[in-house]
Symmetry: C2
Subunit: 445 residues, 2 copies
Amino acid sequence: MAQPRTTSQRPHVLIVGCGFGGLEAARALRDAPVAITLVDRANHHLFQPLLYQVATAGLSAPAIAAPVRFLFRDQRNLTSLMGEVTAIDAGLRQATLEDGSLLPYDHLIVAAGATHSYFGRDDWAAFAPGLKTLDDAFEIRRRILLAFEAAEREADPVRRQAWLTFVVIGGGPTGVEMAGTLAEIARHTLPGEFRNFDPSSARILLLEGGPRVLQAMPEVLSASAQRQLEKLGVQVRVGARVVAIDGTGLQVQPDTGDACRIDARCVVWAAGVAASPLGRQLAQAAGAETDRAGRVLVQPDLSLAGHPEITVIGDLAAARSHAPGKEPRPVPGVSPAAKQMGRTAAANLRRRLRGEPTQAFRYRDFGNLATIGRNSAVVDLASPLGPLRFSGYWAWLFWLFAHVYFLIGFRNRLVVLIDWASAYWSRQRYARVISDIPPQPGKDG
Amino acid sequence: MAQPRTTSQRPHVLIVGCGFGGLEAARALRDAPVAITLVDRANHHLFQPLLYQVATAGLSAPAIAAPVRFLFRDQRNLTSLMGEVTAIDAGLRQATLEDGSLLPYDHLIVAAGATHSYFGRDDWAAFAPGLKTLDDAFEIRRRILLAFEAAEREADPVRRQAWLTFVVIGGGPTGVEMAGTLAEIARHTLPGEFRNFDPSSARILLLEGGPRVLQAMPEVLSASAQRQLEKLGVQVRVGARVVAIDGTGLQVQPDTGDACRIDARCVVWAAGVAASPLGRQLAQAAGAETDRAGRVLVQPDLSLAGHPEITVIGDLAAARSHAPGKEPRPVPGVSPAAKQMGRTAAANLRRRLRGEPTQAFRYRDFGNLATIGRNSAVVDLASPLGPLRFSGYWAWLFWLFAHVYFLIGFRNRLVVLIDWASAYWSRQRYARVISDIPPQPGKDG
């Protein structure tokens, strides 16, 4: 294992994870007199807000995945390593990588993010994949496309309907995007392509355990989102708790009565999120606490009590926002919050290097937006004049430009725009690649 | 298994494989009074001439893979099925799919293509993947990118050099493209991105068993191709026979002396091609012969002796070109030949339906071109005034536009052009996605 190039006696900053938080922290340390090592399991930074587009064959993976070392090629104080931090020794100040090699640090920023949670039912993972990484997106894309292919080959109408029933579990932003896009694929992309059934007969179900979809939004926008989903052809069921999932369907317990079975071959999990397991290991090693979701409880300045050299940010941190004169409030698990924490972590590290006191994290909430489908979205913006709420076409346009804008630094925004414009006008989805096809029997290799 | 929609008593044409041959045959039967079923293992038609670009992270997969059912959505006499034909019963006139279901046919066009051949050393496949499918390209891309990542983490200089040694086996068009592009990546794309080594210290070796690269080309162009490769930094070794490959390197026997060992962690196989195993099964079932490469010997009209209802085309056929007044000549395994055979198969099928005699296949050779890298290519065009041969920048430009032109019908030629233009000016490669990352220990799912 190569040692990071610790130039002279510059303090060594180890950043774990290159999501929105880790990326922003690393960028904000560009001119700092430190030697940074950035470690991530993947070789790319993922623009997660558009991951559902890869899962639904609307965008290709390279459009939303930027190579980490390309992003930092000009930042000479940073070394990027592809690898996985499996444990942190807070006493010895070193991290262990998956091959057992050790990375010592003077300052540590942990931004390892979150993964799916099946609420103790990890056996469901095989039947209902979640959507966090590119590999997850490929698996979901594969299952969606294969379900339609299987339906074309299936002669039995009952079994065919099971292939044509798509269930999305969880009514948060990802679940709403997935369900809306699936409905569009069935109603607008695929018709005309099959000879043995009508793709618009596909049934898209969105199941939410709580009383409404998009619970982080005001009620009026939740109601609007549900109407827009239903207009696209999605069947929305709130207060619907999933009690069993297997390879051919699932069991749902509505608030109102007995559990019923839904035969469905393609089920997507968008219900639960848990912090990366590194959080618990770190908390144990550093004498910190974790909350129920496995997130590490941090000090107001995002560091750990007794370990000012360790900072935890992003979805891995159970952080609070400290606005002057207000009660501390929990920070939501959204990408703007992760970015802001990354900047605060970097600023506090600089202060510490200069011997100045650190500052408490303050989350600036610019609002919330979620897309549903073509021309459909909801927007809830914070403004000095009070909240600005709108939905439908203009909300969708706002969502679109906000996302293309934040793709800055990515590959080719122009290519993404052309992809989208062409998908918009043709209602086509070009990234319909089923890979991982089992090898031919007898094929060499 | 759904039966194909055999409209009234229209004869049922089964086409196996949607490469260049199968695609062209299906298209040419657009207005024929037949019911077509097109079966392919993949859900996409692959533009194979650019597959090396996916393997070297220059293009994303959807740019060169068009969904089969999208291509044929408006051809109402065609049903497309994703599936694999495992056997053909020439007596009963039916094909067996991988799940055991049966597809009866009146006319059969087999265009199942070719796969890699390791000349009896199938154990080499694990160490030296070949390049025929998208999955192959992803695997090679993954190995190339991971080799550079491993080099950045490797402290031992000898082991690091093994990670930075890339060997391409086979000096045909694919091998030349792969080696040239690898050299460009090492010399022009990656410098500046690593802190522990200089990517331009990577060694790219192209091994060819025969006396020269691009043996299908005139000698003068082979020599030019070798010079262009060497200018890019590729070490070309002709007359070099590989006698062993393992996970850490390979053994090469030069014409001139003792075998020597090359330590290399990334080896690409571009040496051998064999017909799909379906060829031998079909030949056995229909009483036909195969050649050494497993290709089926066909009649002048591409049908099988004694089975005029079976036609074999593309890389699976050992076909001859029958030009009036000339000796029959073998047809090369290139995509224009496969397309022309597809058109001949369709035309002969129409003749048969009308009760007319079929015609012999005649291959029109428009020339040959191969690219080597940025601004480097060789072109050998047939023209009425004699062959037109050129190489270097203008050959490369010719190659580029020929390929973009033949991407017609594909997704978004504009997107591919922008990708290429931007790659050309920035020397960047954006599709640097390593997928298939092993899941985190303890991760749910």
